[in-house]
């Protein structure tokens, strides 16, 4: 505002600046440094050059397994969750009387889903004689050993996170509701079917929120910790041993801070590369209203 010192705004953002330097920027750089050291918390960090990374990529079977499981987890969970969230949002985006009731019912799991209590619940409903197997028995399906089989254990965590599709859905729904209705009318008069309208009008118009959800959900999925820590404890046979779990164990159980930092940096670089790819590709598929590109 006129007349004020041009530094006045800096005073207001100063808490952020201090916090950024102390709790984000400094730790960010420090973890990069630590990843080149050997540090057990007791002595001082000892510089070891590329040794941690060399071990990670050449000799560490646990890392190979953990990385593979993490990628499988992210690339199944994120698309499943987003497609499901979009599907429900589309179904809800109709002049239904009970829209608010449904929106609430669907949103409750994402409010609670991060809670340890829900992870505990998941342990029980997927137990051998738990709710899911009892439900399947009603349809004559043989009980499944969800946590005992490396092929299904990870899927229970995927299901937990898909169950929390509510916040992505609310964002989709808000976007769908802001689409100009006259576009639909024009298309319907021109004889477009429902699928065509969805595919060629609705979908392009909501690409910005698809993009937003995609990025946020991916970054989040790569950091999944509570699910595998509580529900499956990384097992069986490390089939749910996601990288954040491995980092936690290395850092806070083995106290190998240098090695844990190296794993964290590999995870960070993967997330960053994927995010950059997403941003770069968004020029080709994300449509911003008012943009002149066709």
């Amino acid at each position: 505002m006129g007349g004020d010192s041009k530094y006045l705004g800096l005073w207001y953002v100063s808490p952020y600046i201090i916090g950024l330097l102390l709790f984000t920027a400094f730790p960010f750089l420090a973890s990069f440094y630590l990843s080149f050291t050997d540090y057990d918390l007791l002595s001082t960090p000892e510089w070891v050059g590329m040794k941690n990374y060399e071990k990670l990529f050449t000799r560490d079977r646990t890392f190979d397994k953990s990385l593979k499981v993490t990628l499988i987890y992210v690339f199944t969970t994120v698309p499943l969750k987003l497609v499901f969230a979009l599907f429900i949002a589309v179904v809800l985006n109709y002049r239904l009387k009970a829209i608010n009731l449904f929106r609430t019912a669907y949103y409750v799991p994402s409010i609670l889903g991060g809670s340890i209590a829900i992870a505990v619940l998941w342990r029980y409903i997927f137990a051998d004689t738990g709710l899911v197997n009892m439900g399947l028995a009603l349809f004559g399906v043989e009980p499944i050993n969800w946590f005992g089989d490396p092929n299904t254990a990870l899927f229970t965590i995927t299901l937990l996170r898909c169950w929390q599709f509510g916040s992505a859905m609310v964002i989709f729904l808000a976007a769908l509701q802001s689409v100009d209705k006259s576009l639909y009318e024009a298309a319907a008069i021109d004889g477009a079917g429902q699928w065509q309208i969805f595919r060629y009008i609705t979908l392009p118009l909501i690409t910005p929120v698809i993009f937003f959800n995609l990025i946020m959900q991916t970054v989040q999925a790569f950091q999944e910790f509570n699910g595998p820590y509580i529900i499956t404890e990384g097992g069986p046979l490390k089939s749910t041993y996601l990288l954040p779990l491995y980092i936690y164990d290395e850092a806070f159980k083995s106290f190998d801070m240098g090695y844990a930092s190296a794993i964290a940096w590999v995870l960070f670089v993967i997330i960053m590369v994927l995010t950059l790819i997403a941003f770069w590709s968004s020029k080709k598929w994300v449509y911003y209203a008012g943009d002149k590109r066709s």
Binding site: M1, D4, L8, G9, L10, Y12, Y16, G19, L20, L22, F23, T24, F26, P27, A30, S31, V91, L92, R95, L96, A98, R103, A105, Y107, V108, P109, I111, G114, S115, I116, A117, I118, L121, I125, L131, M134, W163, V170, A174, S178, Y184, E185, A188, Q194, T202, V209, F212, I215, V219, Q223, F225, L243, Y248, A251, M257, S261, A264, L267, F268, T275
Partner: protein, 304 residues
């Protein structure tokens, strides 16, 4: 998707009997909405059933719990609540709830105040380096915590904050949760400045303008911030797991994990009963203020 009932209906304009085509379209619209209701109701039921089952199961005896998928207990008992409340530690579950509250309240207040100041700075002032600083807000939004966690731990160890609530409070009180900062900035940018400018003309300082003009208008956004911070802190597990080591200071999330580890394998109803209690505050808060949650998500999300 488009609904046929939204199309202009010539029958209303002319008063003629509906044509064959219109009847067909209307029937199609009815089937369409019946189909939607069915899909939504079935999926909704599947989604909510685990929660309903959880509540029912917490009143069941241990032997009944794994014998039927129904949620209604045949011999309701509160034994699970009584035993679970006592816990295997010297403290009751109530103690852990107070700990959670003692983490949440200062953290939430700190978040609200710092986000207000910082968002005001970003949305209403020009200063050197503003664009770069704002870019760091977005970058932090996307920065995975996993990469900063270890040095943060070392920092808090070196200044002697381990096993206290300070590592959980202080970063948030320094506007460390980029999501909230971003949300309040977006909200503030959409508010017209007329009232603030009038107050400045009348001689109010920027701080007075902030407190008496901006904050009241920001209230919906700040309530959203507080509610989300309440939920997330209530659910937070990894933070306390790393920083809190003495059982005396455990919040509910750690106490629940402890009860899984220490309760005998057959005492499921205790654990489920305490899970119900752990979820209750979040559920109550959500139902009291769900409007703010939905709005919060939409502001923080769509405009991103």
């Amino acid at each position: 998707m488009v609904s046929y009932s939204e199309l202009p209906n010539p029958a209303h304009n002319t008063g003629d009997a509906p044509t064959q085509l219109e009847l067909k379209l209307r029937r199609k619209a009815r089937i369409n909405s019946a189909l939607r209701y069915t899909v939504l109701a079935v999926i909704g039921l599947i989604m909510v059933y685990p929660l309903i089952w959880l509540v029912g199961a917490s009143f069941k005896t241990n032997s009944e719990m794994f014998s039927s998928p129904g949620f209604w207990p045949s011999e309701p008992t509160v034994q699970g609540y009584i035993d679970g409340w006592k816990t295997s530690t010297p403290y009751t579950f109530g103690h852990f709830f107070l700990n959670s509250l003692w983490i949440i309240i200062p953290k939430t207040i700190g978040t609200a105040i710092s986000c207000t100041l910082v968002a005001y700075g970003f949305a209403r002032f020009d200063f050197p380096g503003k664009n770069i600083l704002f870019a760091t807000v977005i970058a932090t939004l996307l920065l995975p915590n996993v990469v900063t966690r270890i040095p943060q731990y070392l920092l808090f160890r070196d200044i002697g904050w381990l096993d206290s609530f300070l590592p959980l409070w202080v970063p948030s009180a320094m506007a460390g949760d980029a999501f909230f900062v971003f949300m309040v900035i977006q909200f503030l940018r959409a508010i017209p400045r007329d009232m603030e400018e009038a107050a400045r003309v009348d001689g109010a300082t920027t701080l007075q303008t902030l407190i008496f003009i901006v904050v009241p208008m920001l209230m919906p956004a700040l309530i959203s911030v507080c509610l989300f911070q309440f939920m997330w802190t209530m659910n937070d597990f990894l933070g306390p797991l790393i920083y809190i080591s003495s059982v005396e200071k455990y919040p509910v999330s750690l106490a629940l994990k402890l009860s899984i580890d220490t309760t005998e394998a057959f005492a499921w109803n205790q654990i489920l009963a305490m899970s119900v209690l752990a979820l209750t505050p979040s559920l109550v808060v959500f139902f009291m203020a769900q409007k703010y949650f939905i709005e919060g998500i939409s502001t923080g999300g769509v405009k991103g």
